[in-house]
Symmetry: C2
Subunit: 164 residues, 2 copies
Amino acid sequence: MQASAVNSVRTTADRSSLMNIGRKVDYAVRALSYLAAQPHLWVVGSKEIARRQDIPTHYMSKIMKDLAAAGLVRSRVGRKGGFSLARHPESISVKEVYEAVERPLSLMECLEKDHHCCPYDAVCTQISVWERAQGLLAEYLAGISIGSLADREGLKGRLNGLHS
Amino acid sequence: MQASAVNSVRTTADRSSLMNIGRKVDYAVRALSYLAAQPHLWVVGSKEIARRQDIPTHYMSKIMKDLAAAGLVRSRVGRKGGFSLARHPESISVKEVYEAVERPLSLMECLEKDHHCCPYDAVCTQISVWERAQGLLAEYLAGISIGSLADREGLKGRLNGLHS
DNA sequence: ACAAGGTGGATGCATTAGGTCTATATTTTA
DNA sequence: TAAAATATAGACCTAATGCATCCACCTTGT
């Protein structure tokens, strides 16, 4: 009788989380992509987003909270409530989304400002390598907008479209 | 009288492993950097590497095993045994090192060949983004050689050098 | 008033990161 | 040949993390 039946189809076969973008970011991008394709300021309920993009319902609530806290979406509480983008879709980058739900992009602790991760940072030969790698990544992701990923139908809809 | 006293000075304050290069890779690069600065085919015992680069001794043994299995170092068993680079330092890339001790560089499961991580890959809007990001990263890391990171003295030695 | 929504937080579980230890096989050298 | 120093193989341990689920509460439209 309720929408809880389907859920994520993924197997538990997660291999490593090192150097991996997590599901949280995946889900966040999916959700925002869906919102990005709606009419301006259109409010969409979380159930709808979750269903169309196949995101675990309750988990997404937490994610949307993060996105709201970061100022990427606006939420409306109460009946007929839901979410809408708080900014122009073209102005929201994937890097921002990542940092909204995860943390500032950082390939190693050493690279975090004022973190002084290990006593050797003054003489470390690798720091500059990871720093540059991280810079490349950040620059690229900052250049990709949610607008460019807009998805009016949602994954489910488009997948079924292929089948028909 | 023994080398076991110091160990890693890092606090336990690891934050997240998502999108993080792990310590294993850090240690592997340190070890290879040290070997890269030795005379050609010079054999160095693991105790010495561990001491000079401040790597947990037993943990490093496991790492060296991976590096040997990947053909990056040659090992010599028995007394006076140890490790030496199996290839020219300039020909060993950081990407290879990463993949020797960790796994093939992959930002998301979806990107792994033939993994078919989720039912939506055919209609996914984000895959190409992560694919390109991963490509940039891989390309950059493939261009950095262990030779360019060679460290004759090791972190400890060079740090003390600064103090004097 | 009440139902449909978001908010905030407690809780849970499987896996991984990171590391230690021991037993064994191999080689040098005394 | 015995002993010492080394790598190898793998079992084992622990805290933290990833990925959720659930619930009690507060807001708002009808």
